[in-house]
């Protein structure tokens, strides 16, 4: 088991390295720079700024310097927020985004698994078509459409929930979490339906029925264990995707999370900020993928035995 994790971590190093390198050169090859602006800046001021942030050095030296800082865990200073380091900005935005992601994921799991299992119990009937049709809509509906729609209905017409903010008013976390989570809920619903359908057609489900088990016990005790493995394997990438993809929702609902800094940084050519966020998020993605893979493997007794025996 440990050897498996170790190998996966080792494989992650080149992946992250490629991400860093590609992002580093891509952002610098985009036209414009961090200190270009509409109003003219004195050439000597611009030169001084560039010198301060080592932008006057040749590209490969900048790259090596960045890697050096990175190996010490230092993501560098932000070009646009003078006096603040990228580490600080990430540190302040992450808890909010992580909380939003967690709520969205919980919502997605609850709704997705329930709908998927429900649909799988009576395949190709109305009980299947209705939740799966809704799931299809959920997958197709972008959050920049769903968010304002929910805002209009629940925030303005019905006036049940606040329309913006995070942690300021009671209930202001509900709409953003639903907006962010619904596409994932839809995807999880489809995964659970497929997983459950496959398991429910297995011979051992017939065995369980032949033993005289009530149907709910057949589903919960015999089918769920195997049926939800694909869902669990999906949770890692899903959580990473939620973190990285939260910027639209954060913008709609005025939430001070990571996503807004990320997008803003791209507009501002804030090189270190873009790089820092990308490196940080790709590390998270690799890490969460690993965790959900390990858990999914652990749930399969056969693979678990191999881990115990072989490594």
């Amino acid at each position: 088991m440990l050897r498996f994790i170790f190998w996966r971590l080792l494989q992650a190093i080149p992946v992250i390295f490629v991400v860093i390198t590609a992002t580093f050169f891509l952002v610098r090859s985009a036209p414009g720079g961090p200190f270009d602006s509409e109003k003219a800046v004195l050439p000597e001021v611009k030169r001084a700024l560039e010198a301060q942030y080592k932008l006057d050095l040749p590209l490969h030296e900048q790259y090596i310097a960045y890697l050096g800082d990175l190996s010490n865990g230092n993501l560098g200073p932000s070009f646009k927020y003078p006096g603040r380091s990228v580490n600080e900005i990430l540190g302040s935005g992450l808890p909010v985004t992580a909380e939003l992601g967690l709520y969205a994921l919980s919502f997605a799991l609850l709704i997705g698994v329930l709908a998927g299992v429900f649909a799988a119990l009576r395949p190709n009937t109305r009980q299947d078509y209705i939740p799966m049709g809704m799931a299809m809509i959920g997958i197709c509906m972008p959050s920049f459409l769903l968010g304002p729609l929910l805002l209009l209905i629940f925030g303005i017409y019905l006036d049940w929930l606040p329309i913006a903010g995070w942690g300021d008013l009671p209930g202001d976390k509900i709409l953003p979490s639903i907006t962010l989570g619904s596409a994932y809920a839809a995807y999880i619903a489809r995964l659970s339906r497929a997983g459950m359908l496959e398991i429910l057609s297995q011979d051992y489900i017939r065995t369980a029925r032949a033993k005289g088990l009530p149907e709910w016990r057949v589903v919960i005790q015999h089918a769920l264990r195997g049926g939800l493995i694909p869902v669990i394997a999906f949770l890692g990438p899903a959580f990473a995707g939620l973190l990285a993809g939260s910027f639209v929702v954060e913008t709609i609902f005025q939430i001070p999370g990571l996503g807004r800094f990320y997008v803003q940084a791209a507009f501002n050519r804030d090189y270190t900020m873009i790089l820092g966020t990308t490196v940080f998020l790709s590390t998270l993605i690799v890490f969460f993928n690993l965790i959900s893979d390990v858990i999914a493997a652990w749930l399969n007794p056969r693979l678990r035995a191999q881990f115990k025996g072989g490594a």
Binding site: Q202, D203, Y204, R206, T207, A208, R209, A210, K211, G212, L213, P214, R217, Q221, H222, R225, G226, L299, N300, P301, R302, A305, Q306, G309, G310
Partner: protein
């Protein structure tokens, strides 16, 4: 009074494409303390009639049209689902065909074993666990305490079927329904499981309803045989009646199809086509440093135009040997020479050229055909890959191939799932023959088929061998099949060659202990 009295049972399936009558006005009984065997091909309605009794047919599409099934003074067919559930797994228990898939792979054996007792409120957890351990011991599982904590994958097929039997008997049922319980097992294991069922039945005085497509197996174990064809009971009686005095043509056909024919006469004076010398194929093992010696120092040669039967139980290395000959599995040591060519030393291009001359047919015709390719595409692929025919001549070549393997030409545009098992195996054989090979490895080509279909495919292979001068390595665990088709027989046991000789010699006077045991385990010896 009968334990189970099924009267005028009719079951149909209603789908969009119309109504299929699966079971039509069927009558049979199971007497207490005796075994009733139901025999028929797949699709004959034998399983459906039994599942219908216990409400295990999904409705819809299933529908019970008529009938009564009196068990213990109650009509099973008139009971509600809730009432049926209290009988299922307590008074009536079932065991199924494939022990590899019938146990939940995610639950420990113990957890699954005690479930019937807990769910029917017969015992509490401690008592149920003790009872389960006792029963595991009784069905011949060694170290039952450890087995309770194990997962199904840690057991072989035979062991899992023992666990299934223990699970069925744990509530002391009065009736046991066994649906093809030995079909998926090797012949030696099959004999053990049949003995176990018989002895448990006698000890507990229960009635057994034993479903099988194998007349030889049923005649070994049953007191009363019911023959079903296309949803109808066509004949019933004692095994002796059926064997000596079968009235219905279908029963006579089943009897004739039991592979028992005389072996073909060996021909002499042929040259050697393929030789394996000191062949070793090892696999590295996850759990130990010792490699698994699947094939361990086997030397064998096959004459041109001959069928060599390779027998052994599962795990004996017979499939690995076949695959190694074609270099589908890398060999560890030894030499293979095909028509004077050293197969082991070939590079990719030469190997590809050689592959044309040697082909393989697999056991499971469904799993080995690509479900998204039509018959036409499946047969076209090897023809184009090996440049056997130009595109212009393709249609004619495909027609000829389909004629050869007995497939109607209209089938060319259909997909594998539209065919029956026997037809799929014909497609697979057609694919193997497409390159006009000289040598074919047939790995259990008829094991997944019903006995009558089996006879047709064996006939086809024999015809092809005679017409095309094919040389064949015929791998099978079924001795009766081997006896029918092979010129010579080689017996593998744990990766080593036990015995090789002319078919009649090996069957009539086996030399090694293992071969003798293997032969003694053939079902149907007592009745035939």
């Amino acid at each position: 009074m009968s334990l189970l009295n099924v009267n005028d049972l009719s079951v149909s399936f209603v789908t969009r494409n119309g109504t299929t009558e699966a079971v039509k006005n069927v009558n049979f009984t199971v007497e207490p303390k005796s075994i009733t065997g139901i025999i028929g091909e797949s699709g004959s309605g034998k399983s459906v009639s039994c599942y219908a009794l216990l409400g295990l047919i999904p409705q819809p599409p299933g529908r019970i049209d008529s009938g009564t099934a009196e068990f213990n003074g109650r009509d099973l067919l008139a009971l509600s689902q809730r009432e049926l559930r209290s009988i299922r797994g307590s008074d009536v228990a079932m065991i199924f065909q494939d022990p590899m898939t019938c146990l939940n792979p995610y639950m420990r054996i113990g957890e699954q074993l005690v479930e019937p007792l807990l769910v029917h409120g017969v015992a509490n957890k401690e008592a149920a666990t003790l009872r389960a351990i006792e029963l595991l011991d009784e069905v011949g599982i060694q170290n039952p305490e450890a087995a309770m904590r194990a997962y199904p994958f840690e057991f072989s097929g035979g062991m899992r079927q023992r666990v299934m039997i223990a699970m069925a008997l744990i509530t002391e049922p009065k009736l046991l329904i066994a649906d093809e319980p030995t079909t998926a097992l090797d012949v030696t294991i099959q004999a053990q499981i049949l003995r176990l069922i018989k002895s448990l039945q006698e000890k507990r005085d229960i009635g057994v309803l034993f479903i099988s497509h194998d007349l030889a197996v049923v005649s070994d174990i049953a007191d009363h045989i019911v023959v079903m064809e296309k949803g109808l009971v066509v004949e019933q009686g004692t095994p002796a009646d059926i064997f000596t005095n079968a009235q219905h043509p279908y029963t006579q056909k089943l009897l004739a199809a039991i592979p028992n024919g005389a072996p073909p006469e060996p021909e002499n004076g042929r040259d050697t086509l393929i030789t394996a010398s000191n062949l070793k194929t090892y696999f590295t093992s996850e759990n130990s440093d010792e490699p698994v010696k699947a094939v361990d120092d086997v030397s064998l040669s096959i004459q041109r135009g001959e069928v060599l039967g390779l027998v052994g139980e599962s795990g004996s290395g017979k499939s690995t040997f076949g695959r190694s000959l074609l270099r589908l599995t890398p060999i560890t040591d030894g030499q293979i020479s095909f028509d004077g060519i050293d197969v082991g030393g070939l590079d990719r291009n030469n190997l590809k050229a050689l592959r044309r001359r040697m082909q393989m047919i697999f056991q499971d015709p469904y799993a080995s055909l690509n479900p998204r390719m039509t018959v036409y595409d499946t047969l076209t692929e090897p023809l184009l890959l090996h440049k056997i025919v130009a595109r212009a001549g393709l249609d004619a070549a495909i027609r000829e191939l389909m004629d050869n393997v007995g497939l109607a030409r209209g089938f060319a545009k259909k997909y594998p799932h539209e065919f029956s098992g026997g037809q799929r195996q014909r497609i697979a054989i057609g694919r193997a023959l497409a390159t006009k090979p000289e040598f074919i490895v047939a790995d259990e080509p008829v094991s997944a088929l019903d006995v009558t279909i089996q006879a047709q495919i064996l006939d086809l292979l024999k015809d092809l061998k005679d017409e095309c001068g094919l040389t064949m390595l015929f791998v099978s665990h079924d001795l009766a099949v081997i006896r029918q088709i092979a010129d010579r027989v080689a017996v593998l046991y744990r990766g080593k060659l036990e015995e090789v000789g002319n078919t009649s010699n090996v069957f009539n006077s086996p030399q090694s202990d293992y071969t003798q045991r293997l032969l003694a385990a053939i079902p149907g010896k007592s009745a035939a």
